[in-house]
């Protein structure tokens, strides 16, 4: 279908960008203490963040999951995780649409490490939370809305 074809095209572009980044030495081929991806962490929108990660318009995948509660009592600490059932997942990242900077964290997974990472993030407001996953040279994504409520008395 149309959607599928578009995705193939998109990942094609993503791979090209990635290749360029790798060539420029921004993505280390081996896993060392990689340089912090300033461009990605300082990007504001989802689109700019994906671009900075070399993952322009990744494909939605049911094999990727954002784990976390439906509602958080406090936005300062929201337990969130990413799991991927896609073989050969080498990177997972957590993005929060409505935060000032969308990218919360990224994790490179050497062979033998499961694609299942849990952490805790800050959320300024109710937002879609995205899991971005890289397997082979392709990017996949999943999303979940997490509501942030007010807790006790405002004083």
């Amino acid at each position: 279908m149309n959607n599928q074809r578009r995705n193939v095209l998109k990942t094609g572009t993503g791979a090209a960008v990635l290749g360029a980044l790798a060539a420029a030495g921004m993505i280390a081929p081996g896993i060392a203490l990689a340089d912090w991806n300033k461009a990605a962490f300082e990007a504001k929108s989802m689109a700019d963040t994906l671009k900075a990660l070399g993952a322009t318009q990744p494909a939605d995948s049911k094999d990727v999951q954002v784990t976390g509660p439906d509602i958080a009592e406090n936005g300062a600490v929201v337990p969130v995780g990413v799991t991927s059932a896609i073989a050969g997942t080498t990177m997972v990242a957590i993005l929060i649409d409505k935060n000032p900077n969308a990218l919360a964290a990224s994790f490179k997974l050497p062979e033998g490490t499961e694609a299942n990472v849990q952490t805790r993030v800050k959320m300024g407001q109710t937002s879609n939370v995205y899991a971005l996953v890289k397997a082979g040279d392709k990017f996949y994504m999943a999303t979940k809305e997490i509501k942030v409520t007010l807790g006790g008395c405002g004083g």
Partner: protein, 270 residues
């Protein structure tokens, strides 16, 4: 027992009419929040504070250059395991009923030669109060899983219980609040926060048994003194002095009411 207050609330609800949000929608929201709380329970950042406290407990300090390892928290010199589950208690050496924090101040004074004033006067989570919080985190971690077991047989404990109960119902200040305003009825919420009914064993156990705690909203570890202090701030009263008798009396009332409940300290809270 008939609770007239409840009838009035019900009567008012009937008079003022209007249907509350469907119970199922509200329940679902609370289920979601419970799921959130469970996800936080594993990996309570209090552990970081407790680790500091354990270190501090063993580190010689003060003019006497001594550690707190000989501190008697009620179960004998140096016994930390289970000690806070049995506090407050009457201590013969000081002739007073003491909670964990005032007892730790006694130990700091007698063993280390430190002036308790430095703790009392410090700002929350600064200087000596930051150190106190760490010590408290360590001590209460050592009572996790135990049963609340406060001995109220001593006449001084009995007296403090009565005074604490009076303080619990004492309405004052510009908003006419008492502790009971928020914690004197069953099944109530303040905004989304469920309020334990501290008059009952179950409610008191839920409240007393899960403080001190790490508060995720500000990333701070709060001792029970800090908790009570902020309750009074929200009640719009004047400020209770750190370690003052009203804080001890309330602690005795709450702990005694909670007797038999489970200690899950340090807790993790909104």
């Amino acid at each position: 027992m008939v609770n007239p207050q409840k009838y009035i609330v019900l009567a008012l609800a009937a008079t003022l009419g209007s249907l509350p949000l469907g119970a199922s929608a509200s329940d679902k929201l609370l289920d979601g929040i419970n799921e959130y709380r469970e996800a936080l329970a594993d990996g309570n950042p209090s552990e970081l504070v407790a680790a500091e406290g354990e270190e501090l407990w063993k580190t010689p300090r003060g003019p006497k250059n001594a550690s707190l390892e000989k501190c008697d928290l009620g179960l004998g010199a140096g016994v930390v395991k289970g000690a806070s589950a049995q506090l407050p208690r009457f201590f013969k050496d000081t002739g007073k009923v003491q909670d964990l924090e005032t007892r730790l101040m006694t130990c700091m004074e007698t063993l280390q030669g430190l002036d308790p004033k430095a703790v009392v006067e410090a700002k929350w989570l600064k200087g000596e109060k930051e150190k106190m919080a760490a010590l408290v985190a360590y001590v209460v971690t050592e009572s996790n899983g135990q049963k609340i077991k406060v001995d109220t047989r001593h006449p001084e404990m009995k007296k403090m219980y009565e005074l604490g109960k009076l303080a619990f119902y004492y309405r004052t200040g510009p908003m006419d609040f008492s502790c009971a305003t928020c914690h004197g009825d069953q099944g109530k919420r303040i905004r989304m926060q469920e309020l334990p009914d501290l008059r009952t064993q179950e409610g008191a156990a839920a409240g007393w048994g899960s403080w001190p705690a790490y508060r995720v909203s500000n990333g701070q570890f709060w001792t029970m003194q800090h908790r009570l202090n902020d309750c009074y701030r929200q009640q719009r009263t004047a400020e209770p002095i750190y370690g003052s008798d009203v804080t001890i009396a309330l602690s005795v009332y709450l702990a005694a009411t909670a007797n038999g409940g489970k200690v899950v300290t340090p807790g993790i809270k909104r």
